[in-house]
């Protein structure tokens, strides 16, 4: 029994939320639909941990779906790279589900709650599928599953604010364009190489140097994924979507959605096209690097001038995505590892910040703008304390997870002779202190209006867990650091 489970883990991780989402929709009771969702996200997380242990033994698991052998059939691949986003997505979605219990009924009509949970699980299944699949076209399918589910989730915010519909519509259209571009790219690649299996693609691309169709296909794929990953300037759907989505959905999307796409980006750059060195080096240097730098500064500066806190955090996410893509752009083993470290750390940082801010929204029952926060720091000490710690982590201050990311990112850029890059990264991260401090100061210094009597444990429990993770991974980062270095090793290790 256990054997069968272990053997089929790669597909079970995806199937668990997918199947459960079909059941959840049938349960009208708010509590039971939530409980079933929690159970399934918990199981998914458990399976990811099991998968992590398997990876430590086998280091590469290939799973032929329906026993159709690759390259003809669809192959699922789990290796030391894929396991990082799997753990992030399943772990954060579990925490976000716990958090959703009290928040969700506040913001959404009672009768549609079970539908929301169904979509919720569907989005998670889509994201996990994106990461596990080893087939370029199957990836497109999961991309659409996760996008459509997320769009519908964002649109649920309309119960509170009709702007959510506009945001969802934007997200839908831009997301669809991105997915279309990606699928055009896959089409071109299929035309040139005659295969859709990623590992197979890698080998066949090697014989096709300088094929124009191949280069065009590469371009389409990259741009399509960059839309999904919200790489500047293709990010415009993101701030609105995060800002107007229901609170719990913001948490889920902010911490997980772009991570999967970033992982795909790394896969395309360093694994599928690993044999076209010229193409990749040019892309990294002339496309990804400048875009990442612009993202770092544009995102941070927009965040400084933003009044709406959820949007502010969304802008900050764009800057943080910039750090991750910048790490990829430097292109050394150390820097790619730094990218994965930050991918993990950013998930727990942004998850924490969104949980803190949206739980404040739960009490004040208004849009969370900077002026509505006056004095709340003293009224909600637990939430405030966690918010401050997560902020420090985002700014990259010592003893937090964010510091570890910054440490390795700076080290990687200095060792590849980019001291100026290091300084730019640090200037932008010092600027991030400006917008975080603005919030903290208002919450701490201004006089409050005594809105909050007592904090609700059901809401802050997940915040405390995620804040604890921020501190823990700042003190004992060896798990993340080693995992990321192994991943980078797997991606660009020992050139042939």
């Amino acid at each position: 029994m256990i054997d069968i489970l272990i053997k089929n883990l790669p597909i079970i991780v995806v199937l668990c939320p997918l199947m459960m989402s079909l059941f959840v929709v049938l349960i009208p009771n708010i509590f039971f639909s939530w409980a079933l969702t929690t159970l399934s996200t918990f199981l998914t997380f458990l399976f990811s941990i099991l998968l992590y242990q398997e990876i430590q033994i086998h280091s590469h698991i290939s799973y032929a779906l329906g026993k159709w052998m690759p390259p003809i059939g669809i192959e699922y691949i789990i290796d030391k790279v894929a396991i990082i986003p799997i753990i992030i997505i399943s772990g954060i979605s579990f925490l976000a589900t716990i958090f959703a219990y009290k928040i969700m009924p506040e913001e959404i009509e009672k009768k549609s709650i079970s539908k929301v949970y169904s979509l919720w699980l569907l989005a998670i299944a889509g994201l996990l599928g994106l990461v596990t699949t080893g087939d370029a076209f199957n990836l497109f399918v999961f991309l659409e599953i996760s996008s459509l589910a997320s769009v519908a989730l964002v649109a649920m915010g309309a119960h509170q604010d009709k702007q959510a519909l506009v945001a969802a519509y934007n997200y839908l259209i831009i997301g669809a364009v991105g997915a279309t571009l990606y699928v055009i790219g896959v089409g071109l690649l299929y035309g040139v190489t005659g295969t859709l299996n990623m590992a197979d693609l890698t080998n066949r691309i090697a014989d096709q140097n300088n094929n124009r169709a191949l280069i065009a296909g590469f371009g389409f794929m990259i741009v399509g994924i960059m839309v999904k990953a919200a790489v500047f300037p293709l990010h415009i759907w993101l701030p609105r979507a995060y800002a107007y989505a229901p609170s719990a959905v913001s948490v889920l999307l902010a911490a997980t959605a772009t991570k999967a796409s970033l992982y795909i980006l790394a896969r395309i750059l360093f694994s599928i096209f690993e044999n076209s060195e010229n193409l990749i080096n040019n892309t990294l240097l002339f496309v990804i690097l400048p875009l990442s730098l612009s993202a770092m500064f544009a995102g941070t500066i927009m965040a400084i001038y933003e009044k709406d806190i959820k949007r502010l955090l969304a802008h900050s996410s764009i800057a943080q995505i910039g750090y991750i893509t910048l790490a990829f752009a430097i292109g050394t083993k150390a820097s790619i590892a730094a990218g994965f470290i930050h991918m993990f750390n950013h998930a727990i940082i942004k998850g924490g910040l969104f949980i803190a801010i949206t739980s404040i929204g739960f009490y004040i029952k208004k849009r969370i703008t900077i002026n509505n926060l006056s004095g709340l720091g003293r009224e909600m000490p637990i939430t405030f304390f966690c918010f401050v710690l997560c902020s420090l982590s985002l700014a990259g201050l010592p003893l937090t997870a964010g510091f570890i990311s910054k440490l390795y990112l700076i080290k990687a850029s200095i060792s590849s002779d980019g001291i100026w890059l290091a300084i730019l990264i640090l200037i932008s991260s010092a600027l991030s202190v400006v917008y975080l401090w603005k919030i903290i100061e208002v919450m701490w210094m201004r006089e409050g209006k005594n809105i909050v009597k007592k904090e609700n444990p059901a809401i802050y429990i997940s915040l405390i867990i995620i804040t604890f993770l921020n501190i823990y991974f700042g003190l004992d980062a060896s798990l993340v650091v080693n995992g990321s270095f192994e991943a980078a090793d797997k991606l660009i290790g020992d050139p042939k």
């Binding site: 201050l397 570890i404 300084i423 200037i427 010092a430 202190v433 400006v434 004992d476 060896s478």
Partner: protein
């Protein structure tokens, strides 16, 4: 028998324990208030033992957590660290007693928060003193900045908020943008974050890059308050005076110059600096800061502002001593950490006493009040003499060694700088007792100074005389900073 490892833990943990216990004792104010002095005594007992082990040339290291491969938080005993640790923990006893008098006398709000963060800041300073590698140093450097922010903005009014913003942006900005990459640069160049007695960079770093790296360190260490990044220190004077006294005359700023000295001696190594001349520009910058801020100090009528500028000037003595890159100058710089601390904390204590006793903040308001509070002005007089460098006050020793070091290094001009600055010191510090004792009284003010303020002030001023006769121990210790093998 307690091992030195345990003494390190005792010294750095007792302020942390005080910090943690303070909120739990907020109901019992007497217990809460006296946690600080008790913690200070335990901490300095540990620091004394650490110092004696440093004198015996014992090498002790202690790793606390291993964050990732090659990245860890650890502590060790170095001569310079032993000096700074002892100064910070010992003066904490008196500053803690003084704070009780000040906070009660002034009827300040949020006292529990104040005491908790006060102890936290001392903890961070002590961790800096015993840091075994650059990363630990950096981590607690930042902890120190963040733990002093609630103290600087203690009053929470607009001015405090503005000052707090300046304080944070300069200290955090400079350290994150320049100090952190400089540290990582050393890491990349040498392959580790460790420091060593004679520097780690020789042969590892191209000499042409040395001035650039040094500049990143110098301007990254904002707490050393070299021009043009000194503005945060006068701004921080909005804090209650016990904060200015212990933190902005001893713990925070000394952490800055301590880091500077550590970088100059244990990262670059004075041989490497002397050979490459990488620190020559720093000599001129420090000399300039030293003189310029002395002149600014003359024009400040606000007593705490004048003392702040005087502090900046005195910090530059220490940086200058390190930059001269001779063993004698380094020794003088290290001694100056002790001597200036004892002198300046006295002066700040007096400034706070005058505020609590008569709400006086301006120097021009002091005319003729010497007779009504003779002891406090006498303490100020003694402290000033020490800062100016008049024997038999301890300040004369460090100046003596600094001048010897300047002569040693061949920069004769620097001796002139020290001389001019001494005259300027005398000018702006002596004005205060002179006004108090010799000027005519303009209005009647009743100066009432609480005992809890008066006693620590007298003790620290007496300390400046006492230390003059016991300098040999410290001199033995500081002579090991450079030449220990």
């Amino acid at each position: 028998m307690i091992t030195i490892e345990n003494f390190i833990l005792i010294t750095i943990l007792s302020p942390l324990i005080v910090c943690v216990l303070t909120p739990f004792t907020s109901k019992n104010t007497i217990l809460r208030d006296f946690l600080g002095p008790i913690g200070g005594m335990i901490s300095s007992w540990g620091a004394l033992n650490i110092m004696s082990s440093a004198l015996n040339n014992q090498n002790t290291t202690l790793e606390i957590v291993n964050i990732a491969e090659g990245v860890s938080i650890g502590f060790e005993v170095t001569p310079l660290g032993a000096v700074f640790g002892l100064v910070a923990s010992f003066l904490w006893i008196f500053a803690a007693i003084y704070s009780i008098g000040y906070m009660r006398g002034n009827k300040e709000k949020n006292q529990t928060r104040f005491y908790a963060f006060y102890a936290m800041a001392v903890h961070a300073a002590l961790c800096i003193a015993y840091a075994s590698d650059l990363l630990t140093l950096f981590i607690f450097y930042e902890v120190l900045t963040f733990s002093t922010y609630p103290l600087v903005t203690h009053n929470q009014h607009d001015m405090a908020q503005k000052a707090g913003r300046l304080y944070m942006s300069i200290l955090v900005g400079s350290s994150v943008i320049l100090l952190l990459p400089a540290i990582i640069w050393v890491w990349v160049a040498t392959g580790s974050l460790e420091m060593s007695q004679n520097g780690v960079l020789e042969g590892k770093l191209d000499a042409t890059y040395a001035p650039l790296l040094l500049a990143m360190f110098v301007f990254g260490i904002g707490k050393a308050a070299l021009m043009p990044i000194h503005k945060w220190l006068p701004a921080a004077m909005v804090a209650p005076t016990p904060v200015s006294a212990l933190l902005h005359a001893v713990a925070v700023v000394k952490a800055g110059v301590f880091t500077m000295l550590i970088v100059l001696t244990n990262v670059f190594g004075i041989d490497f600096l002397a050979k490459t001349g990488a620190s020559e520009w720093l000599i001129w910058l420090a000399s300039f800061t030293l003189l310029a801020t002395s002149i600014i100090a003359i024009y400040k009528d606000d007593l705490k502002a004048r003392l702040a500028y005087s502090t900046i000037s005195q910090l530059s003595y220490i940086t200058l001593g390190g930059a001269l890159a001779t063993s004698m100058a380094t020794q003088g710089a290290a001694l100056h950490i002790i001597t200036h601390a004892a002198g300046k904390i006295t002066l700040f204590f007096v400034a706070g006493a005058l505020y609590v006793g008569a709400k006086i903040t301006k120097i021009s308001d002091l005319n003729g009040h010497g007779i009504s509070a003779p002891l406090i002005f006498l303490a100020f007089f003694v402290g000033s003499l020490s800062i100016i460098g008049v024997p038999p006050m301890v300040g004369s020793w460090s100046k003596f060694f600094l001048m010897l070091g300047a002569a040693d290094s061949g920069y004769v001009v620097v001796i002139g700088v020290f001389c001019i600055s001494t005259i300027l010191n005398a000018f702006y510090l002596m004005e205060i007792p002179a006004r108090a004792f010799f000027f005519k009284k303009e209005r009647e003010i009743n100066i009432k100074i609480p005992k809890l303020i008066l006693i620590p002030t007298l003790i620290t001023s007496f300390l400046t005389i006492l230390l003059f006769f016991f300098i040999e121990t410290f001199q033995n210790l500081t002579s090991m900073i450079v030449s220990r093998i």
